[in-house]
């Protein structure tokens, strides 16, 4: 991989830092009037998802990371790996392990397309679409006429995720969920 020197830093550039692949989110040029110039960088550690802040002296360089993000359809899990397939017509499949799937596990639904980040050719992380539709498999019986009260109750979804839903929601209903906040949005349409 190519090296990136500070004057090539910009958001989106993927580099190796402390052994982990990271994506630059924000790059700021910092310089006191007649002092040394620095690049202040916010990076997302693509392995852990954590955001790091680091500063580099002008002229320093970092090794690029062999990272690409591809759209893949979720197929099935065999208990050890979660299998995804490229949507580009190649039908190429990749197995992601538990760490790569991480919290996304709660939002995995067959035939839905996810953003899979490959590092050195293997899945490193999986990002769900912002919204997914999932079925309720368990919740207390729905209460009619209580829609205006705004009360909530827990509901278990087909993936095992537990979310707070309005009191009128029943088992078997399909709900639209926001995967970023893990919150109920509405009943799924159609």
């Amino acid at each position: 991989m190519a090296n990136y020197s500070t004057n090539e830093f910009k958001s989106g550039v993927k580099v190796m830092l402390e052994g982990d692949p990271c994506a630059m989110l924000e790059v700021e040029f910092v310089k006191p009037g007649k002092g040394q110039a620095f690049s202040r960088v916010k990076l997302r550690n693509l392995r852990t998802g954590r955001v790091w802040e680091r500063t580099f002296k002008s002229g320093e360089s970092l090794e690029g990371a062999d990272v690409i993000e591809l759209d893949m359809e979720y197929l099935y899990s065999d208990g050890e790996f979660w299998h995804f397939m490229l949507t580009d017509g190649s039908f190429e499949q990749y197995g992601a392990d538990e760490t790569a799937v991480g919290d996304c596990k709660l939002w995995l639904k067959e035939q839905v397309v996810y953003a899979v980040t490959l590092y050195n050719g293997a899945p490193l992380s999986v990002t769900p679409p912002n919204f997914v539709d999932l079925e309720v498999v368990e919740t207390d019986p729905g209460l009619k006429g209580d829609t205006a009260q705004g009360g909530t109750k827990p509901a278990t979804l087909s993936t095992g995720a537990v979310v707070n839903v309005p009191l009128f929601v029943n088992i078997g209903e399909v709900l639209k969920l926001d995967t970023r906040t893990g919150e109920y949005v509405s009943r799924a349409k159609g």
Binding site: F29, V30, G35, F38, E53
Partner: protein, 320 residues
């Protein structure tokens, strides 16, 4: 649509008002407006200032001459002072190579003025008047470099040893690698941990910088510590101006130029031809004076309450 200006048209009108008010301010105080060259055969020697250089052809002369776009009009203005101009000011473009970002543009507008016979504190009070008249800003507070470091980082910037500063800089900024000088560490701590807090309620002058950061300012010793007699002005966490009790000693000036060039050589940077016109001017005699450079784009950022320099200039470098 990058043919269009990056700023609103209202920003252009505000700039025109600031320039008009600036002319008015200095006219009332009988400070003479001057112009000095943007292109010069020599330029700033500071280790961390890079000039844009240009090859200039002149008739009846063999080969191109290397010239530099000025990082500030400082040298030429001091030559005018030595020639007896009296108090002078100018608003002019300055150029700093390699500087671009949310608060930097490689070409920017600087207001620079000199007051023969003024002490640094007299000049600071005139800067306060200027801010009040032109930008309706409050009279600035004053804080020493040492007080700022003690207040925000609980460390004495003059007495802490290099290792302690390095460890703190590393911890506070996540900087990688070694090879940071004492001043690099101080700069890092200043820009990352202190600057954004300076001048947020009202502007503030920071004074008494380490002597190693004197540049063209006089140095005096206070409590056994050598301090540069200069100030920087901050408003809303933004560095706006840099003022000096000006060095008028020709030998000391020549010594600093040479020391800068030595440091440049060590860093693998090109040496800068020393401005012998300035040295000669100082030798001929310059009375004690104070001078300040104020970034007009940054001042407008404070007035417009924006964090991006692109909001106050029509065509930043990306659209130039």
């Amino acid at each position: 649509m990058s043919w269009r200006p990056s700023c609103q048209l209202a920003a252009l009108r505000l700039r025109a008002d600031i320039l008009a008010a600036t002319r008015c301010f200095f006219a009332e105080r009988s400070v003479l407006e001057v112009e000095t060259p943007l292109l010069s055969y020599s330029t700033a020697t500071d280790l961390h200032l890079a000039s844009v250089s240009a090859q200039v052809d002149l008739p009846h002369q063999q080969g191109s001459k290397q010239m530099f776009l000025q990082t500030s009009p400082e040298f030429a203005m001091k030559r005018l002072l030595a020639a007896g101009s009296g108090a002078i000011y100018q608003t002019t473009k300055s150029f700093r190579n390699g500087e671009s970002g949310i608060r930097h543009n490689p070409e920017f507008t600087m207001l620079e003025w000199y007051r023969p016979g003024f002490s640094l504190s007299e000049l600071m009070s005139e800067v306060a008047d200027y801010l009040s008249v032109v930008a309706k800003l409050d009279k600035p507070d004053v804080i020493t470099y040492q007080q700022a470091f003690l207040q925000y980082l609980n460390i004495d910037p003059h007495r802490a040893d290099e290792q302690t500063l390095f460890q703190l800089a590393k911890q506070k900024t996540g900087i990688s690698g070694d090879g940071l000088s004492r001043d690099d560490c101080l700069d890092l701590l200043l820009t990352h941990c202190i600057e954004s807090k300076l001048g947020c309620e009202k502007p503030v002058f920071m004074i008494e910088y380490p002597a190693s950061q004197a540049s063209l300012a006089n140095i005096k010793e206070i409590d056994g510590i050598k301090l540069a007699q200069r100030f920087e002005l901050y408003a809303n966490g933004l560095e706006l101006a840099n003022g000096y009790d000006e060095l008028i000693d020709a030998d000391e000036q020549l010594h600093r130029f040479k020391a800068d060039n030595k440091a440049r050589k060590l860093d693998g940077l090109p040496e800068i031809p020393i401005d012998h016109h300035l040295i000669e001017a100082l030798k001929s005699g310059l009375i004690k004076c104070s001078g300040v450079a104020l970034g007009m784009d940054r001042l407008q950022m404070v007035i417009q309450k924006t964090s991006s320099i692109d909001d106050v200039i029509a065509f930043p470098v990306g659209r130039a």
